[in-house]
Amino acid sequence: GCGGDDGDSGSGGGDGKLVLGFSQVGAESGWRTANTKSIQESAASAGVELKFSDAQGKQENQIKAIRNFITQRVDVIAFSPVVESGWDTVLKEAKDANIPVILTDRAVDSQDTSLYKTFIGSDFVLEGKKAGEWLVKDYTGKTDPVNIVELQGTPGAAPANDRKAGFADVIKADPKFKVVASQTGQFTRTDGKQVMETFLKAQPKIDVLYAHNDDMGLGAIEAIEAAGKKPGTDIKIITVDAVKDGMTALSEGKINYIVECSPLLGPQLMDLAKKVKAGETVPQRVLTEETTFTPEQAKAVLAERKY
């Protein structure tokens, strides 16, 4: 290109530094912010020049950003898709421009898997399953019906859909488990609290709360306490994510079980980007290193939780 020659937009690897264009979904939650931080920090320490773009939760912004990365000829493009579908066109453009693409956090449902090199992230269905499995195990041997209420994420969002599906899949085997109410808490504390308040009044008996993320669970805990019940004892609580606030509540016994969904993809992503750039083959799917936590485990790791 022509125009100004500002140093800050150094493209196309003249200086040998890898340029990574990364399009983030937005900053809709603490989890997401931690994810962004991890990527920024590990880019800096790995000597990767990061072009960061925030899509403010809009797919069209993300497509625009990817197009722009193509125009700017970055070395590798990585992005966390806002939704699963609709990436073929722009990914083909990237392919035509010979720019490898890495998906993070969320997958795309493209038929043509050659459009991206690899996917790194969590398996939301698996997370839902893990939550369900713990519950089944916890109630083995008991025959009383178990009334479950569910706080869903934003309707239509992939983590909400998958965590719901995975959980439902596991508990459906045993008829004693019954989801008596399921509403969206929009992934936020306030909504989690407000919906839980209503559940507590509308439902005569609640044994278990399953929340699609920690924040909603934390909000619900407040509602449960305000109703004079003990979270974790009167009502068992399972959440997903394992952010610091959630882990604190877990260690205090207010939450019973958390399925981790780690935002710290940065180091793995930088590794992959370098490999991809160097033309090495990488696996189609890289899962983030994740685990699950019980209160005891939470106490052990709480001190080193940063996010």
Partner: protein
């Protein structure tokens, strides 16, 4: 029969119908018990949840009465909550009442400045209100995130928690705050001449200028009032969960607030306004939200349910609809 003709009859009727529908799904819906020395029950919940919307709504009412609109209320909520939580988080003793009060005052003061900003853009520079406040709507949420560094800021301050989740004299503090602000707004507009002057400016800007009304100063005042209301709502919102979530606080509340204003019978073109109507509208909206959960509307159909209620509401509120479809004899013709 005269109450049927009252402009708020129909929204009130819908509100009652919504409340009544709950009884089929949760038998204890109307029961109010005393619990830990305060009132406890679904009705109390609804009032408590309505508090932020009522606050934002009355500010919005005055702005709309001058012929303007304020899209930035959600962002102002986020900013004020974020600032208060940031300051409280920095306190040595988070339970210090003065410290908390100072933090809240700072949040409200910042909102006031933002209100002046909006008002100046509209009244002094002459930018169309929707765009003028859109600027703060977009940038404001960024500012709030900047304050919280994109994280959810947690505080563990008992005094702060009182604002949004506490009780005095058996009633939720947030409801009392909202009621207090409504009272202030009513006194300001109806016990002084402010209401009349605002209605005149909204009704006909040219005529009011020629009548010697200082529209510019009034306009700035209403935007400031709206921002202060939003700031207080932001404090309530963040105090309720003892944390500042810059992203979720006040998200899309401007739409609900405008809806509450319109349900309350204030026209978007400005002029005559009704604070009581807005309060009713806000309570109606929150009742709708609670009802969807409490009668167990599945997530997929929640929006559809809301759409139907809003459609019914706007139709039944329309005199033309009642005359044409419900075949009630037109009151205009029937009297005398």
């Amino acid at each position: 029969m005269s109450f049927v003709r009252h402009r708020l009859f129909w929204p009130a009727a819908i509100l009652v119908a919504l409340l009544a529908s709950n009884i089929f799904f949760s038998s204890g819906f109307f029961s109010i018990t005393v619990h830990d020395g305060h009132l406890y029950g679904s009705i109390i919940d609804i009032l408590r949840r309505s508090a932020p919307l009522i606050l934002v709504g009355i500010g919005m009412t005055l702005v709309i009465a001058t012929g303007g609109i304020d899209l930035s209320v959600g962002s102002v909520m986020a900013i004020s909550g974020a600032l208060a939580c940031l300051l409280i988080g920095d306190l040595d003793n988070q339970n210090s009442v003065t410290g908390v009060l100072l933090a809240c005052a700072a949040g409200i003061a910042l909102s006031l400045v933002l209100g002046i900003w909006n008002g100046a853009l509209v009244a002094s520079i002459g930018i169309q209100p929707i765009i003028a406040t859109l600027i703060l709507m977009v940038a404001g949420r960024g500012i709030a995130q900047l304050i919280t560094d994109g994280q959810i800021l947690n505080v563990t301050s008992a005094p702060y928690k009182v604002i949004g989740a506490g009780y005095t004299i058996a009633l939720p503090v947030s409801v009392l705050i909202a009621a207090g602000m409504v009272a202030i707004a009513v006194v300001l507009t109806r016990r002084t001449a402010l209401g009349l002057l605002i209605e005149a400016v909204g009704g006909s800007p040219t005529a009011s200028r020629l009548a010697g009304i200082q529209a510019r100063r009034l306009t700035i005042m209403v935007y400031v009032f709206s921002a202060i209301c939003a700031g207080i709502a932001g404090l309530i919102y963040s105090s309720n969960v003892s944390s500042a979530d810059s992203n979720a606080a006040g998200n899309l509340i401007e739409l609900d607030a405008i809806l509450a204003v319109v349900i309350g019978g204030t026209r978007l073109t400005g002029g005559r306004f009704s604070l009581a109507g807005t309060v009713l509208g806000a309570v109606l909206i929150e009742t709708l939200n609670v009802t969807t959960v409490s009668i167990g509307i599945p997530v997929e159909t929640t929006l559809l349910f809301k759409a139907i209620v809003v459609i019914v509401l706007c139709l039944v509120q329309s005199a033309a609809f009642r005359a044409k479809v419900l075949r009630r004899p037109s009151r205009v013709g029937a009297s005398a």
